[in-house]
């Protein structure tokens, strides 16, 4: 009853092809944005913002990046962590060399570096398909991880091997480094993630999204339509890595405040991949759902049981977390291979006819 479309007539093709043709969806998004921009910063605790919201947004962005490549274009990638790392380190080097330039410019620029690396490791995708391509991305992952650890140039020859984020400002307000407040950083991350999600949405709803999905579904038929495979795949690598690179830069500069090279290892790649699988391959909203579940679950596991009087040791939490994530993946694949996004869609379908059963 709430979600009925009756009465919403589309009188032009452009209205029909709008990204959110249903009024209730548009209202819903507006509400979510309002909550994100106003309610949470005002009412939310520092903990909520620093430990939950900021990383959730950043991981969602990385998940969107991987989803564009794996979910929309069908190119399985296990190198997400490395591409995020490229973005983080690029940003670090750029701001070290040009400290006067606004850090946000460098965050976006580092995306381009990531994109370039992504394209480089995507070139094999012309000849190598499917699962073998995943191994090529693993090569990228291990090689770049090794670079971050072994080549001191990356961390400015710092003795500890880690990088520390210097203070940078935007319009006089510090947004990175020790003096930046949670709220400031939250707003910056929110703005960037919202903007980039909007751009990704535009892409996937238009010609380019269709080309990617065609390559995913049947590349032979796609060629027949006139789609050139290599440029299309490389574009997917480029855009995907751009998003991951920016996410990596945000991760280090606007969340952690520093990084050890081990942050961008193969486990991070799997982490993001699980978000995409559980959230739903080929769905932008799914990326957010998946990030929420995979990221928030360990937090829940860590803090809820003590409230019920069942203390769990810290080390055990990690083990249980792994078990739960592993089991969840299998359960999801059995119950709904298209992930949370599909469950959400089914839910909306039911809302359309509620309270009637069909």
């Amino acid at each position: 009853m709430l979600y009925r479309e009756t009465g919403q007539f589309k009188t032009s093709y452009s209205a029909d092809m709008a990204v959110m043709p249903i009024l209730q969806d548009r209202v819903g998004i507006a509400v979510i944005l309002f909550i994100a921009a106003v309610i949470i910063p005002y009412f939310g605790s520092g903990f909520l913002i620093q430990a939950v919201m900021i990383p959730f947004l950043i991981f969602s962005l990385a998940a969107i990046g991987l989803n564009l490549l794996t979910g929309y274009t069908g190119l399985l990638s296990l190198g997400t962590g490395a591409f995020m790392g490229v973005g983080a380190y690029a940003c670090y080097k750029l701001t070290t060399w040009f400290p006067g330039v606004n850090i946000l410019i460098w965050v976006i620029a580092s995306g381009f570096f990531s994109a370039a690396v992504g394209v480089l490791f995507g070139i094999p995708s012309l000849r190598i398909k499917g699962f073998y391509l995943a191994v090529a991305t693993l090569a990228a992952q291990f090689f770049l991880s090794w670079c971050f650890i072994r080549l001191p140039w990356f961390y400015n020859y710092n003795a500890s091997g880690a990088i520390e984020v210097p203070t940078r400002t935007l319009a006089g307000i510090p947004i990175t480094g020790a003096t930046a407040t949670d709220t400031t950083r939250y707003y910056v991350v929110l703005a960037i993630v919202v903007a980039m999600t909007w751009l990704a949405s535009n892409l996937v709803h238009g010609r380019i999204g269709r080309m990617w999905m065609a390559v995913r579904d049947m590349d032979l038929a796609a060629e027949l339509i006139g789609i050139r495979l290599l440029p299309t795949k490389l574009l997917a690598f480029a855009v995907s890595s751009f998003y991951c690179g920016v996410a990596g830069a945000l991760l280090v500069f606007l969340w952690y405040g520093g990084a050890e090279p081990s942050v961008f290892d193969v486990n991070l790649s799997f982490f993001i991949l699980f978000m995409v699988i559980i959230g739903g391959l080929g769905s932008l909203t799914g990326s957010f759902f998946g990030a929420a579940l995979i990221f928030i679950l360990p937090i829940v596991l860590r803090y809820i049981p003590p409230k019920f009087g069942m203390p769990i040791q810290a080390s055990m939490v990690e083990h249980i977390q792994f078990m739960v994530i592993g089991a969840l993946i299998i359960v999801f694949l059995i119950v709904e291979p298209n992930g949370l996004a599909r469950l959400w869609q089914i839910g909306k379908q039911k809302l359309r006819v509620w309270p009637f059963p069909y």
Binding site: R127, L138, V266, I320, F322
Partner: protein, 318 residues
């Protein structure tokens, strides 16, 4: 110019200057290769019989080894522990078939592949929970595996061949031959190949998919156990082994996903290539290049032969 010399000439000169070191390195590469091949073998078994790439093979190796050592540490005699571990691996195969394979029976391969990710993470968590995360020592001696080394004098120096390595090579060869014969000659082996080709067709001739899968995952479990014992005897049993299992991927790329002899050949190429690369070219680039060298070797091969050395070239019929 100097760099070119360092990359293309110097390592070979070093090889020539100390041939005993070269033989030692080659031997170590061979042994490592045999062990990689064992891991790859587990993948090949499952892939050959079900078309699934079992990402969890690596963790099964660790899990099997941990179970064995764990039981022994609780006072169970070595051979009894071995028997019990075999039973546990059988139980695991049954559980996987019931809870994971059966519900997903008609799904595309990529879904099953992702399910094995889930299985991996589950087993990692479970293993750490039950056995603890610290490295353990494999009960090699108690199982009757030899210790010590044989020293061979050659080319002006010594080459030390660890007896355990020789044992590993021999055991691996026996295992490979046995499995190859099993697949080719026995009725069950034929059934396994039929299932790998087409589930529906196999069902229609009366092959029980569930039984086949249990058999195959159990066989992979046995291979995992053997691998775990051998790897563990040479170094330690820890979860780091799981990452080493990822090394099997380049091996599979070279050797093909369905070829048992290919797994050995691929393993040896990767093992030897890695050791040589690490020993002679490693100092140029910094240590630890073995973390990615195997992948790059495999990648280069893939560019020339996208189906791997032994893989079947897929002729897509439209």
């Amino acid at each position: 110019m100097d760099t070119l010399y360092k990359i293309f000439i110097d390592p070979f000169m070093q090889m020539g200057a100390a041939p005993d070191l070269l033989v030692q390195t080659l031997w170590e590469g061979l042994v490592a290769g045999v062990l990689y091949a064992l891991i790859a073998l587990g993948f090949v078994l499952i892939f050959k019989a079900s078309g699934i790439f079992n990402f969890a093979q690596g963790i099964m190796v660790v899990f099997a080894a941990l179970t064995l050592v764990g039981l022994y540490e609780h006072g169970v005699p070595a051979y009894v522990a071995l028997g019990l571990t075999i039973a546990v691996m059988f139980g695991l195969a049954v559980a996987v078939e019931r809870l994971m394979l059966r519900p997903l029976v008609n799904q595309p391969d990529i879904i099953l592949f992702m399910a094995t990710f889930g299985l991996t993470y589950f087993l990692i968590g479970f293993g750490e929970l039950v056995f603890g995360g610290e490295p353990k020592i494999m009960i090699a001696e108690q199982l009757g595996l030899p210790r010590g080394a044989i020293d061979i004098k050659m080319a002006g120096g010594f080459v030390a061949l660890q007896k355990i390595d020789i044992a590993a090579a021999i055991i691996a060869s026996i295992m490979v031959t046995a499995l190859a014969l099993f697949f080719q000659k026995t009725r069950i082996g034929r059934a396994l190949r039929a299932v790998a080709d087409s589930h529906k067709a196999a069902l229609s001739v009366g092959i029980s998919l569930e039984q086949i899968w249990v058999i195959v995952w159990f066989a992979a479990g046995l291979v995992a156990l053997t691998t775990g014992i051998m790897w563990g005897a040479r170094s330690q049993v820890s979860f780091a082994l799981e990452i080493i299992a990822l090394k099997a991927l380049p091996v599979l790329i070279l050797g093909g996903f369905t070829s048992i002899p290919g797994a050995i050949i691929g393993g040896v190429i990767i093992g030897v290539g890695e050791k040589l690369g690490e020993f002679y070219w490693g100092p140029l680039l910094g240590s630890g290049i073995e973390s990615w060298l195997a992948y790059v070797i495999a990648l280069i091969f893939l560019l020339f032969r996208p189906q791997g050395l032994f893989g079947e070239r897929l002729i897509e019929r439209i």
